[in-house]
Subunit: 209 residues, 2 copies
């Protein structure tokens, strides 16, 4: 059965932590480009995408559902009706590939959790959507592991840096510039962003495009 | 043929960027614990470990070679004599598991590169050690891809967050506390470090053990 891939998305004033280096309009374009990259990966992996947007929105290649509930509530309402397989995947993980998504949805476990940097959850695959309930507030990775355990669902943790890297802050852009081949990496480059070697790790610099 | 796993290691005053939250003695214990975790993973994956230390050092389960050359020079001198398979793997990636290391060393390509956060290289597997020459200064991931290309070596990039997460700064400790099951995560906990929810991502706090 084709998994439903639910992608929460905030069209207006997204990625506020990038506000110091991008205008609001640029952030909206950038968020859309990242969503497009994620949509491409989940579609290539054989999922049917559904964008769960906080305000009315349209995007090629996906149905859009609008909700004003908070993230966990909106997802849990949706999960109630889903007996089939559901993948919940964040819109800000543009290094996602068909292969990485396929690894998550081909788990033999009841639940596969894909960790994000700093204790987050970047994707959850559920063999039966209605078997689970999400809790994205705070240390969500540990919470989601606990929820699976409480419900006696077998769990696999997916080991993928392409799904682990989420783009929230300036320093996250380096990996997108270095490893990205999709729309959002191209847009960043067109904005003039380039990786630059600093002491220790690599940072980004922005020049006129 | 059993791959040689070369692990560069700095025994004295390591991990200086953790100096704000750990004493020098704690950092030395912590670096040794991380090395032990990496040794365990590479040994379980079937490699023969060799610690390449900057000062005299002894550790259970591995031969130690001491060098005062810089990282790339020391590694390249060593690679010259290695016609067999070599894995070069950093000592500060304590989430490494047998499975993740096995995925890297079972590549069908001539070279497998494991990216680290921010453009770094956390591991390189070489089917023939002498075929390659490393360059760890600056944006090493891109450099290593270019070196493989220049030498007409086929290349695979390994997708593993367990090998991607390197521990350099305070914010990196969160993922070790959350995902770590080895010696270094245990030591961190014994030092009193705990994950704590802040706005957005999770951070760490330290209390009396």
């Amino acid at each position: 059965m084709t998994p439903l891939a639910v992608i929460p998305f905030r069209p207006l004033n997204p990625k506020s932590r990038l506000g110091g280096i991008m205008t609001r309009e640029e952030r909206e374009l950038f968020a859309t480009a990242m969503l497009t990259d994620v949509l491409e990966a989940v579609t290539a992996a054989g999922c049917t995408p559904l964008v769960l947007a906080t305000t009315p929105y349209a995007v090629a290649g996906a149905r859009v559902s609008v909700t004003d509930a908070d993230l966990s509530s909106a997802l849990n309402t949706l999960l109630c009706d889903q007996d089939g397989p559901v993948l919940i995947i964040m819109a800000d993980i543009p290094l996602a590939t068909k292969e990485a998504v396929s690894a998550a949805i081909s788990t033999r476990a009841d639940v596969a959790i894909v960790p994000g940097r700093g204790g987050g959850t970047n994707a959850i695959f559920l063999r039966h959507g209605s078997s689970f309930s999400t809790d994205y507030y705070g240390q969500s990775f540990m919470k989601h592991c606990r929820i699976a355990e409480e419900r006696n669902l077998s769990l696999e943790v997916i080991d993928s840096f392409r799904l682990y890297v989420d783009i929230d802050e300036e320093e996250d852009l380096v990996d997108l510039l270095i490893h990205g081949t999709g729309k959002s990496a191209g847009l960043l480059r067109s904005f003039g962003f380039r990786p630059v070697s600093m002491q220790g790790r690599v940072s980004v610099t922005r020049s006129s495009p």
